[in-house]
C-alpha cells in the first residue's frame, strides 16, 4: 500500500535533514576555531542531497525514473566550503605562525543560522506528513468496526 511508502520517504527526509542539522551544529561550534595555517583551518561543511527512486534499486526494475512515485532523499556526501577564511594578527596566540597570524574558519554564522531554520522547518514538514499518514492508516484499519 502506498501509505506504507510514505513512512520510508518521510523517514529518509527526516534523516537527511538531521544530517544537515548536524553539519550546522558542527559549523557553528567551530565558527571561532583557529589554526596555524590556512590549509588546516576549519572549513564549513554542507550535505549534498539527492533524490533516490527505491524501485530503481530493486533487481530487474527498468522503470523510467520520472514515472515512479516514490522518491526518497539521501545524503550523497558532505562538501567543504571553499570560501577564504580570515587571517588575524595575534602574535600572543600559541597557534600563531612565524609571522604572528592565526587563520580562522570560513564559517558564516548568519548563513548557518538561516540554514538551521530551513532544516528545522523541513524536518517538521516531514514529521507532520508521517503523523498524518499514520492517522490515515489507523482510520483505514478501523473501517467498519462500528
Amino acid at each position: 500500500m502506498a501509505l506504507f511508502d510514505v513512512f520510508n520517504i518521510a523517514g529518509s527526509g527526516m534523516s537527511a535533514e538531521s544530517v544537515r542539522l548536524n553539519t550546522v551544529a558542527s559549523n557553528l561550534a567551530n565558527a571561532d576555531s583557529v589554526s596555524s595555517s590556512p590549509a588546516t583551518a576549519y572549513k564549513a561543511r554542507y550535505p549534498v542531497f539527492q533524490a533516490i527512486q527505491s524501485s530503481l534499486m530493486s533487481p530487474g526494475a527498468g522503470a523510467d525514473p520520472t514515472q515512479t512515485a516514490d522518491a526518497a532523499v539521501q545524503v550523497r556526501g558532505i562538501v567543504e566550503s571553499t570560501a577564504a577564511g580570515t587571517a588575524t594578527y595575534q602574535p600572543g596566540n600559541p597557534l600563531a605562525d612565524a609571522n604572528g597570524y592565526v587563520y580562522s574558519s570560513n564559517v558564516n554564522v548568519v548563513e548557518q543560522m538561516a540554514d538551521m531554520i530551513s532544516a528545522s522547518r523541513s524536518y517538521q514538514n516531514d514529521a507532520q506528513v508521517l503523523e498524518t499518514s499514520k492517522s490515515l492508516m489507523l482510520d483505514t484499519l478501523k473501517l467498519a468496526q462500528g
Partner: protein
C-alpha cells in the same frame, strides 16, 4: 437469487482511496526532497487516474457462471508474486504511475528545485481531508449493510 456484489455496492470509493494514498506518497516525496538540488516536484493527474481506476474496476468485475468459477477467480485475485525478490500485490489495482505530471513552478529556485513546501503542505492537507471523507463514505456504506443484515 443474485448475490450482493460488494465491489459494485462500494462504488468508486475504494478506487478513490487507492489514488489518494498514492497521491499522498507523491506529495510526501516532494516534501522530503524540498532541499534536493534539481528535484522537480510532481503530482498525480487525479481525474485521469480515478477515471482509469474506475474503468479497470468495471473490466475486472468477476462474473460467476458456475460454482467452480468462484474458487478459481478467488485464487487469482489479489495474487502475490515474489519472483524477483520484491513483492507486488496485483489485486486489479490502480497504477497511477503513468499519471504523474511535473508541477509548473510558481517561483523556481536557482538550484533547479521546483518544490514549494507551503503549496505541497496545502495539497497534502487537502488530500488528507478527502481521504478521510472517502473513509466516512465507506463507513456509512458498511453501516447500511450491517443494518440490512441485522434488520433492526
Amino acid at each position: 437469487m443474485p448475490l450482493l456484489n460488494l465491489n459494485a455496492y462500494l462504488g468508486i470509493q475504494p478506487d478513490a482511496l487507492k489514488v489518494y494514498s498514492q497521491r499522498a506518497e507523491v506529495l510526501a516525496a516532494n516534501l522530503a526532497n524540498a532541499d534536493t538540488p534539481g528535484y522537480l516536484a510532481r503530482d498525480i493527474d487525479f481525474r485521469a487516474a480515478l477515471a482509469s481506476a474506475g474503468s479497470q474496476g468495471d473490466a475486472l468485475q468477476p462474473t460467476t457462471t458456475s460454482a467452480d468459477d468462484l474458487t478459481a477467480s478467488s485464487a487469482d485475485g489479489g495474487n502475490v508474486s515474489a519472483a524477483d525478490g520484491n513483492v507486488t500485490t496485483d489485486s486489479g489495482g490502480v497504477s497511477t504511475e503513468q499519471f504523474l505530471k511535473y508541477r509548473v513552478p510558481l517561483a523556481p529556485s536557482l538550484d533547479g528545485n521546483t518544490v514549494d513546501s507551503q503549496m505541497e503542505e496545502g495539497q497534502f492537507a487537502q488530500n488528507t481531508v478527502r481521504f478521510q471523507a472517502t473513509l466516512t463514505f465507506l463507513e456509512n456504506r458498511f453501516s447500511e449493510l450491517t443494518t440490512a443484515i441485522v434488520g433492526q
